[in-house]
């Protein structure tokens, strides 16, 4: 069963098309990652799901939790907006309690205590929001979004600005929400998080859906065209000059080479060995990061990419 079904939805702001003819289905109990460059339409899509924005008139359908029309206010949905806002003068406990009451929780006392404890905020419960650090207020906001155990949780960049410890705490909470049956949608710029956490990944670029599916399905679409190498010795050597290498992503100690179709990787290995000592040679599928960059930086990537991109666009949403 799908928690969210979006069919052919378009949203324009004046002349600007923020979301173009989008269709998307989010199955119940999944973690769905929204990725895409800044300004590509992630937040607009999330806000339309929240019904803070409405699609252009006569355009498409958005069905959330089986309903096609309701106001933004929905006790079954928890929402963490992109730009965090909390009443500065309120105490942490009071603000969490306020949101719990707004969401209709009757046992808010226990819930507030439980969540403040879990997020390591118990000792800050009676401090004012304005005294909190950015990461702490983000956790407070996260609690406000999920305190009522909503069926659907929408988090707009929940991990941005968190240190690794707090990111772990938050990730654990998201996973637990899913274990308890909630469906979670979040947007992120952290490809590693998306790769590791999400059952499905959706990428939007310039208002158009460019990726949608499991990580496995997305990666297999690009085939095993990536080689990860480490070559010691000649520092000035640029593997991009080799025949059959389309693109090089240099990580410093490691390079990711994308080979053009039909290239024999043995030839690449031989060529590399002639330039230095090869200590690492791994044939792999492209990482989400690489796929993201391939789509979002076509002008830098060159002509071959536009072909790949258009082929992706023609794909059906997901089998």
């Amino acid at each position: 069963m799908n928690v969210i079904e979006i069919e052919n939805v378009t949203k324009t702001f004046g002349e600007f098309v923020a979301v173009n003819d989008l269709s998307l289905a989010v199955p119940q109990g999944s973690i769905y990652g929204f990725i895409g460059p800044n300004g590509s339409g992630k937040t607009t899509t999330l806000r339309m799901i929240m019904r803070i924005y409405h699609p252009d008139r006569g355009q498409g359908v958005i069905r959330v939790l089986g309903e096609t029309a309701h106001g933004a206010a929905n006790e079954r949905i928890g929402y963490l907006p992109e730009e965090r806002g909390l009443y500065k003068k309120m105490k942490v406990r009071d603000i969490v309690r306020f949101y719990a009451e707004l969401k209709g929780c009757r046992d808010f006392k226990e819930r507030v205590a439980k969540w403040l404890d879990r997020m390591d905020l118990a000792s800050w419960a009676d401090k004012k929001v304005e005294t909190l650090s950015k990461g702490m207020s983000q956790k407070v906001q996260f609690i406000s979004a999920v305190i009522s155990d909503p069926e659907l949780v929408i988090l707009d960049e929940p991990f941005s600005g968190l240190d690794p410890v707090n990111a772990d705490v938050l990730r654990e909470s998201v996973l637990e929400l899913r274990r308890n049956g909630s469906t979670v949608i979040f947007s992120t710029h952290d490809m590693a998080v998306a790769e590791k956490m999400c059952d499905f990944i959706f990428m939007i670029y310039k208002g158009n859906k460019v990726l949608d599916g499991t990580l496995d399905a997305i990666q297999s679409r690009y085939g095993q065209d990536t080689i990860r190498v480490r070559v010691e010795g000649n520092g000035s050597f640029d593997p991009g000059r080799l025949d059959g290498i389309e693109h090089v992503t240099d990580f410093g100690r490691l390079q990711e080479l994308r080979v053009s179709p039909g290239t024999d990787t043995q030839d690449v290995l031989g060529a590399l060995m002639r330039h230095g000592r090869v200590t690492h040679f791994e044939m792999t599928r492209p990482s989400l990061h690489d796929i993201f960059v391939r789509i979002a930086r076509p002008e830098v990537e060159g002509a071959s990419k536009s072909a790949a991109q258009s082929s992706v666009r023609k794909e059906p949403a997901r089998a």
Binding site: I52, G71, A72, P81, G85, M90, D94, K103
Partner: protein, 440 residues
């Protein structure tokens, strides 16, 4: 409804549980009371340095009595009480009599003016030779002129009127062969006392009419009206600020994920009604205790308190809706201020005509003004508290019109709020706000 209450409670606590609120609650009356007290203290603190002035009397018959009156005054009237150690509360008047010379008037007055400039004395009076002729043509010869270089200090000029006119009258009476003492007796003025109406008490006895206290009749309604204005402005400003805060800090987005916009707005309005009732309760109880302590219970306008509370609650809803619209439509406090100006003027508008309304509470103008919804809470309360009061249908009609206006304003504010609260970047123009209202 439950969410409306949750929002209202938060709004109320956010406004009331701050130091600023408590300070302003205490500070405002202290400030007003302090100003009043300072005025009272300084009222008698006049400069008691001797005041010198000159009298140039061409009749030769008036300067003498002026000197006598000044001496009498210096001996008695400038002191407080009869005690020998009494404090001097007014300056002594020292009169220099200038004998007329043969030089012409303009030369003499110039010389006297020069002496004023040199601080020989602070003013001089010229009494023309023809002042006894009641029908004398307006000319320098029949005039009494007072000259000084301090036109705003008019105590001497005012004081002079009495001795001069008394003397002139006496001389005229004598010329007409009338005894001034008898004339004074027969022309003695009788005061008209200002009393209320005569009533019957419980035993059926006709009671004596009470002397009316004109001061109380002005100050009690004024106090009530000022309280109303203050409660609205003190409550409405934080309301506008909280909407602006929710908008700029993007709290609104989260709130709207939990509460429909209209309920959110209603919660805020009801919270503000609570705040305003708190302020009114504090001040009304304080003034009740104060007048009770002073033994002036009859001054406390018990009979209009309920009207006051009802009018105030609707005034807060009516103006609060407008303030919320402003908060939702603008993006920063500067933009808000330019839109607040006309609202503030609207709230203050009754202050321009309140005195006329108090003097003639039953006039058509007073009735019309008090039925104009934005002015109803202030002016109708005034008219209710000033005797003889107004027939019941008038406050009822005023209330009905106000309720109707409030509903219209709240409805319009709801539409502006719904769109404006999520709008970022730039503030809305007034024309845009109207479009939101009408297009929905």
């Amino acid at each position: 409804m439950r969410k409306v209450i949750v929002v209202a409670v938060r709004e109320y606590q956010a406004a009331v549980k701050t130091k600023a609120f408590i300070i302003s609650l205490v500070a405002l009356p202290l400030l007003w009371g302090g100003l009043f007290a300072v005025q009272m203290l300084l009222k008698d603190k006049v400069d008691t340095k001797d005041k010198r002035f000159a009298v140039l009397d061409y009749t030769g018959q008036i300067a003498g009595p002026i000197v006598e009156s000044a001496q009498k005054r210096n001996a008695k009237n400038i002191y407080e009480g009869e005690d020998p150690a009494r404090a001097q509360v007014a300056p002594r008047y020292l009169v220099t009599v200038i004998e007329p010379t043969n030089s012409d008037l303009s030369t003499t007055t110039f010389e006297l003016s020069e002496r004023v400039r040199k601080n020989d004395f602070m003013a001089f009076v010229v009494i023309g030779p023809d002042v006894f002729q009641p029908d004398a043509p307006e000319s320098a010869r029949a005039a009494i002129t007072y000259h000084s270089n301090m036109p705003t200090y008019d105590d001497i000029q005012k004081w002079l009127r009495e001795p001069i006119n008394d003397r002139i009258r006496d001389l005229r009476l004598k010329a007409a062969n009338l005894d001034p003492a008898i004339v004074a007796e027969v022309t003695k003025r009788v005061a008209v006392q200002n009393l209320g109406l005569v009533e019957k008490d419980a035993q059926g006895n006709i009671t004596k009419a009470e002397k009316t206290n004109e001061l109380a009749n002005i100050f009690v309604p004024m106090g009530l009206m000022m309280l109303m204005v203050m409660v609205i402005t003190v409550g409405a400003t934080p309301l506008m600020q909280s909407v602006l805060e929710e908008k700029t800090l993007r709290i609104a987005e989260v709130l709207l994920g939990s509460v429909p916009p209209f309920q959110l707005m209603m919660g805020k309005l009801i919270g503000m009604v609570g705040v305003s009732l708190t302020i009114a309760t504090v001040y009304l109880s304080a003034s009740f205790v104060a007048v009770h302590q002073a033994g002036l219970d009859h001054l406390f306008p018990r009979h209009v308190i309920w009207w006051f509370v009802v009018f105030q609650a609707f005034a807060v809803l009516m103006f609060g809706a407008l303030f919320i619209s402003v908060g939702a439509a603008v993006t920063d406090i500067k933009e808000a201020q330019s839109l607040m100006m006309p609202l503030m003027l609207m709230i203050m508008s009754p202050l321009f005509i309140w005195l006329n309304v108090v003097k003639e509470p039953t006039s058509t103008m007073a009735l019309a003004a008090s039925l104009f919804p934005p002015a109803t809470p202030m002016l109708m309360t005034l008219r209710l508290v000033v005797p003889p009061g107004v027939p019941l249908w008038q406050p009822m009609l005023g209330l009905a019109l106000m309720v109707f206006t409030t509903i219209v304003f709240v409805f319009a504010a709801g539409r502006i709020f719904r769109v404006g609260i999520l709008m970022q970047g730039k503030g809305a123009k007034v024309s845009e706000m109207f479009r939101w209202v009408f297009r929905g």
